[in-house]
Symmetry: C2
Subunit: 353 residues, 2 copies
C-alpha cells in the first residue's frame, strides 16, 4: 500500500473510524496519484476506487500494484455491491467540507451507513506537510513563475491589454513545461489594481500605470503563487512610500515564518502595522499551496494554525484604495525548522518598466 494511504489508515484509527468515503478529486489524486473523478472507499478490507469510463485509461496508466487499490468502472457496480463495501464497518468518515448535503444523504442510503463521522479535514491536514517529491514539484512551479516574471518585464508595453498579458503568461507557462496556470491570472492595471480579485480586462496599459500581477504555474499537479506590483514609466513619491511600506510588512512577515510559528500572531502583527497607518488588511495574509492553490493552513487574524516544517504557504499583504490603486506583494514560501525559504525568488525592489 502506498505510504499516504497507510498513513491515512493510521489517522483513521486515532479518530475511531473504520471506513471512509473520499470524493474530493484533489484528495483522490493525493492518495492514489491519479486524476480521476469518482469515489475512493477505504474499508476495513480494501481500498476501492470507483470511477467511470472517462477516466479508466488514465487510472490504469497511473495506479500500480504496490498502491493496493482495486479499480471499478462505476457502471459495473451493482446496488448490492454498494451495500457490501461498508457492511463490516461501524463508523464511516465523510469529507463534510466537500460532500454536498444531497450527496451525503445519498451515501447514507446507498451504502446503508450505520454511523457517519465528520473527519475535520483529515486528508487536507495530511496534505499540509509536503514530502520531498511534492516540494520538488512546487519548487519547479515557482521556478517557471520566476522565469516568466523576468520575461514579462521585457514583454509588457504601453498599449497592451491586461488580457493579452494574462494570456502571454499562460503561453509562457505551457511552453516552459508547466501543466498550465495554477489559477486564473490577475493582471490589474491602473484603477483596476484596487480590486484584489480583478479579472483581466481589455484595459490598455498606460504610462504611469501601476500593474498588479498575481500568477502561478501548475507543474505535475502542484501549484505556485506569486504577486508582483510593477510601475510603468514613473511612480510618484506617495505610491513609492506605500510600496515600500507593503514590502517592509511582507519582509517582516517572512522573517517570522518557521516551524512552530503561529500564523495568527504573524497576521496580527501585520494588522497592527496596517492600523498604525490607518490602513485595513482586507484579506488574509496567506494560505497553503500544494495540489490546490488555496489550501490549509490559512494565515490570518481569524484562523489558528501553527506552522510546521515542510508546509508551503504564501505571504501576501496588500493594500487597496478603491478607484485609485492597489499594491500586493506575494511569495510562495517553504517552512523550515529554524527559518523559511522563499521559493519564488523574483526581485521585490520597486520595478519601473
Amino acid at each position: 500500500m502506498n505510504y499516504k494511504i497507510r498513513s491515512l489508515r493510521e489517522k483513521m484509527k486515532l479518530i475511531d473510524i473504520d471506513g471512509m468515503i473520499v470524493t474530493n478529486p484533489v484528495n483522490i489524486r493525493y492518495l492514489t496519484g491519479t486524476n480521476a473523478e469518482g469515489m475512493f472507499l477505504i474499508t476495513n478490507k480494501e481500498n476501492v476506487l470507483i470511477t467511470d469510463a472517462r477516466y479508466i485509461e488514465e487510472v490504469n496508466n497511473n495506479i500500480t500494484i504496490g498502491d493496493e487499490i482495486i479499480v471499478y468502472d462505476g457502471i459495473s457496480v451493482s446496488e448490492d455491491d454498494y451495500l457490501g463495501f461498508f457492511s463490516e464497518c461501524s463508523k464511516i468518515g465523510i469529507e463534510e467540507n466537500y460532500v454536498t448535503y444531497a450527496k451525503y444523504q445519498n451515501y447514507v442510503r446507498k451504502f446503508r451507513l450505520k454511523e457517519t463521522v465528520e473527519t475535520n479535514n483529515l486528508i487536507e491536514n495530511m496534505r499540509m506537510i509536503k514530502d520531498d517529491d511534492e516540494i520538488s514539484k512546487i519548487r519547479k512551479a515557482c521556478e517557471i513563475t520566476d522565469n516568466c516574471f523576468r520575461y514579462l518585464q521585457d514583454f509588457i508595453k504601453v498599449g497592451m491589454t491586461e488580457k493579452e498579458i494574462a494570456l502571454e503568461i499562460e503561453k509562457y507557462f505551457i511552453k516552459n513545461g508547466a501543466d498550465g496556470v495554477a489559477f486564473e491570472t490577475i493582471v490589474a492595471s491602473g484603477e483596476n489594481s484596487s480590486k484584489p480579485h480583478a479579472v483581466p480586462t481589455d484595459r490598455k496599459i498606460e504610462s504611469k500605470d501601476i500593474i498588479v500581477i498575481d500568477f502561478g504555474a501548475k507543474y505535475k499537479g502542484y501549484c505556485s503563487d506569486m504577486t508582483r506590483t510593477i510601475f510603468v514609466g514613473e511612480v510618484d513619491e506617495e505610491t513609492k512610500n506605500l510600496y515600500n511600506f507593503i514590502l517592509g510588512c511582507q519582509t517582516r512577515a517572512t522573517s517570522k515564518i518557521k516551524d512552530n510559528a503561529e500564523g495568527k500572531l504573524i497576521a496580527k502583527s501585520l494588522e497592527s502595522e496596517f492600523n498604525n497607518r490607518n490602513h485595513t488588511m482586507i484579506h488574509a495574509l496567506g494560505h497553503g499551496v500544494g495540489l490546490d492553490v488555496h489550501e490549509i493552513p490559512i494565515l490570518s487574524t481569524r484562523s489558528c494554525f501553527t506552522l510546521k516544517e515542510n508546509m508551503v504557504v504564501t505571504n501576501e499583504p496588500g493594500i487597496y484604495l478603491p478607484g485609485k490603486l492597489g499594491i500586493r506583494i506575494e511569495d510562495t514560501i517553504l517552512v523550515n525548522k529554524m527559518t523559511s525559504e522563499v521559493l519564488t525568488k523574483s526581485d521585490k525592489k520597486l520595478i519601473v518598466i
Copy 2:
C-alpha cells in the same frame, strides 16, 4: 425587483418555503447579475447579498436600485444580524446539491433555522429556460467558436503540440471579444483521441492523425460548447465509415430536438444505433449550456428531462476505441417550438487538413 428574483419568489411559494439561502456563485450571478462569492438570502422581508471586500466594488458597479438587493460586507454583519434574517420565516430552502454537509450544519446554527427544505434544483430549473438576453450571449459565444474553428483549419500544422493548439484557441477567443474559454479545451490527437476527457499534452501532430477538438468560448458569462474531429493528410476507409456513422447519429439526434421531446428517448434511439453496430455509448448524449458549460437538462438514457422551448443543449455522440482512436461531433443547439436551431454552425462534413 428584477424579474428573475420575482419569479424565484413565486416558485418558492409553490413549494411552500418563505426563505432561501443561495450560495452557489453561478446562481448568485443569475439572480443578481453580479459576479460575487458570498450568500444571497431571500427572506420574507428583503433580498440580501452578503459578500466581502474582494467583491464589494464589482457588486456596487453591477447591482441597480431596481434589483432591490441590500448589500452587506460580511465583516459588518454580526451574529445577531444572522439570527435576525430568517427570524420571521418558517421554512428555509437550501441548495442541497451545492452546499456542503458542513456548511449546512453551520447555517442551521448560524441562522437558527427552524426547518430546512431541499429545493431540488429550483434555481437550476429556472436557468434551463433562457431569455432573449441570455440566448443572444450564447449565440455570440457560438459565433466566436465557429470563427475560431475556421481559423484553426489554417493554423494547425504537423509538428505542433496539442498544448500549442489549445493555447491558440484561448488566444483567439480573447482577441475576439470572449471572456475566455468556457472550459478547459480538449485537443486530443492520434491515440489520445480515444480519451473522452483528454488533457492537451506535448504530443506533436503527425501526418495521418485524427484530432478531436472540444472547445467553447465564454461571452459575458455565457458558454458555447462544440466538438469537431478532423484528419491530417489522409484518412482510411474504416475511419471514414466510423466518422460518417457518428455524423449520421448526431444529425438524426438533432432532428429530434424540439419543444416537448424527451431527452431520454433521443439518447435511447442513439444507443440502439450504437449497439446495432456493437459499439457502446460511454457518456451522455448532451447537457444544458448557459452560465455553466454543464448544466441541466442532461440528455442521456439514464435521465428524464423533457426539452422545452428556449433551452440550450449540446448533442455530442462519440465513439472511443482505447489506444486507437476517438471520434466525437458536438453542437450547441437552441430548442425551438417545432424544431431546433444549431447555434454552432461549423461544417461537419469530413475535414482533412
